[in-house]
């Protein structure tokens, strides 16, 4: 498979904050890689490096073999950024046409993309006046209009409702069939499982795990048992069915796929157990689980 994105040894610090600490990543043509991680994991920093906003430091970033810091390389690139505000003076149609010309495509490429994203009726509207979801579609239209080889999407579905999100996933699938490679960041496990061929889990600026969605989901806890207990950490980690252990003040959070079995043992071993709750597992438990297992 042809590689459209290669990242080796990406490192970046903001002052004393180490945002990326040696990340390697590849995306092939037609492949979708989800970069999954909690807030502050370093996803946006990595994306900014991939799109040429940040220097790669002593690492290497190649988009279709070229350096994204060089303007011409970015003709192959479509980008949806995490927080983008549109100028108050430009209209939807003008922005998409402009994006086509800037990336070396013809003006006529705008029409079909506007239609594909259901923006045709909004073409004459000022971009800054659109709703959040419409602006998100506009950004995507601008990213897609020149038929990029690599599409980089930073939390593109944040703020969209589920039907809108599903439509977005279908659109991505359609583009991938045409050979576009996709790097998408998300903090939603469901999203990464729905769109990606491969999920890369990022936390604290490092890759903690990677694999197909099925492989990862099998290793992820789907419930969190929360309680105050006197049982020590080592014992908790050894309990059958416990995938991750995290302490949060007086409470421990146990990630598991078999909450009933875990509860039985807990109640048997600690008669003073209190503050008991069972919740769906969040991403923090999932990441903690992947790290406990030493997966990489």
């Amino acid at each position: 498979m042809e590689t459209v994105l290669g990242v080796r040894g990406a490192r970046h610090s903001y002052g004393a904050t180490r945002a990326l600490d040696g990340v390697d990543l590849d995306v092939g043509a037609g492949e979708c890689v989800a970069l999954l991680g909690p807030n502050g994991a370093g996803k946006t920093t990595l994306v900014n490096m991939v799109v040429g906003l940040l220097p790669a430091g002593d690492g290497v970033v190649r988009v279709c073999g070229g350096d994204p810091r060089v303007a011409a390389t970015r003709r192959r690139l479509g980008v949806v950024q995490q927080s983008l505000g549109f100028p108050t003076t430009l209209k939807v149609g003008e922005l998409v046409t402009g994006a086509a010309v800037r990336a070396g495509a013809s003006r006529s490429a705008a029409g079909p993309v506007l239609a594909e994203l259901d923006l045709t009726d909004l073409a004459g509207r000022r971009a800054a006046k659109l709703s959040g979801g419409q602006q998100q579609r506009l950004q995507l239209a601008m990213a897609l209009v020149a038929d990029p080889r690599l599409l980089v999407l930073d939390e593109p579905t944040a703020g969209l409702d589920l039907p809108a999100r599903r439509r977005f996933w279908r659109l991505l699938a359609h583009r991938r069939e045409r050979g576009t490679g996709v790097l998408i960041t998300t903090h939603l496990i469901e999203e990464s499982a729905a769109v990606a061929d491969r999920v890369v889990v990022l936390d604290g600026g490092r890759v903690r795990a990677s694999g197909t969605p099925d492989e990862l989901v099998a290793r992820l806890p789907d419930r969190t048992v929360i309680a105050k207990t006197s049982i020590g950490r080592a014992r908790l980690e050894a309990l059958p069915g416990v995938v991750s252990v995290r302490t949060d003040g007086e409470h421990v959070h146990l990630g598991t796929r078999t909450p009933e079995a875990v509860l039985r043992v807990l109640l048997a071993e600690d008669p003073g157990l209190s503050g008991l709750r069972v919740e769906s597992a969040g991403l923090e438990e999932a990441v903690a689980g992947l790290m406990n297992r030493g997966a990489a």
Binding site: A71, Q81, L84, T89, V101
Partner: protein, 243 residues
């Protein structure tokens, strides 16, 4: 070239679609000019009739104020919105984008100058050959370039509100000190001493020289030097900007 056209069109749209800003930045200097011309325009005495000389000095002020405000505040608000990042990840080299911003301010400056020329002609104070007036306008439009670059440099460092304040704080005192509002001859002597170090003064003098036929070389050299310095400032400022 096609890409530059798109960038320039977007910038011009940005200017003409902000009618309030457009109105004020053209109306203010022109109204000011009309006031001074009606008060003092008919005074004689100098090499050039007072009203015509004012077209050079107020013209310099008008052109400078337009190009000083425009690209800088624009770039500061683009930055604040995050829109500058969209430009930076596009396949257009950032230099092309910024050049378009500067170039888009020039017709705007020309608009101010034409309004002033018409005002001068209508009030009957304009007394210069058409050739001299054309040279005057050309000198002011192109001589405004270093101020547009300074504007960019400041726009990369501060937010849009602060940019407007800082740029005004630069503009108004330099205009007064450089004799763009009132002739330096009627000001305290130290004004002239300070003025020689201000590019605003040299643009005013260069414009006047188009009417008097006086020597222009020093002024041209100072403005060229200023252009190089402000271009370097703008470049450094861009590199240091947190976008």
């Amino acid at each position: 070239m096609k890409v530059f056209g798109v960038e320039l069109t977007d910038e011009l749209r940005g200017i003409v679609r902000e009618p309030a800003a457009l109105f004020f930045s053209i109306i203010m200097p022109v109204a000011f000019f009309a006031l001074f011309v009606s008060l003092f325009g008919k005074l004689g005495g100098g090499e050039v009739p007072a009203g015509t000389a004012m077209l050079a000095t107020f013209g310099a002020f008008g052109a400078i104020s337009v190009v000083l405000m425009n690209p800088g505040i624009g770039v500061a608000s683009d930055r604040e919105r995050g829109w500058l990042r969209a430009k930076q990840v596009s396949a257009v080299p950032i230099g092309v984008t910024l050049t378009a911003k500067v170039v888009a301010a020039l017709p705007y400056a020309l608009g101010v100058l034409l309004a002033m020329t018409v005002t001068a002609a209508v009030t009957g104070v304009l007394d210069a050959s058409p050739g001299a007036v054309l040279r005057l306008l050309a000198v002011l439009v192109f001589g405004a370039l270093p101020f547009a670059l300074l504007s960019l440099a400041i726009g990369f460092q501060v937010g849009p509100g602060t940019a407007a304040a800082v740029l005004n704080a630069v503009l108004l005192p330099s205009a007064v000190l450089s004799g763009l509002w009132m002739p330096l001859e009627i000001m305290p002597a130290f004004f002239s001493d300070v003025a020689r170090f201000l590019p605003t003064y040299h643009l005013g003098r260069l414009a006047l020289a188009q009417l008097t036929g006086g020597p222009a070389l020093t002024h041209v050299l100072v403005l060229l030097g200023t252009t190089i310095v402000t271009a370097a400032l703008a470049a450094v400022s861009y590199r240091r900007a947190r976008s």
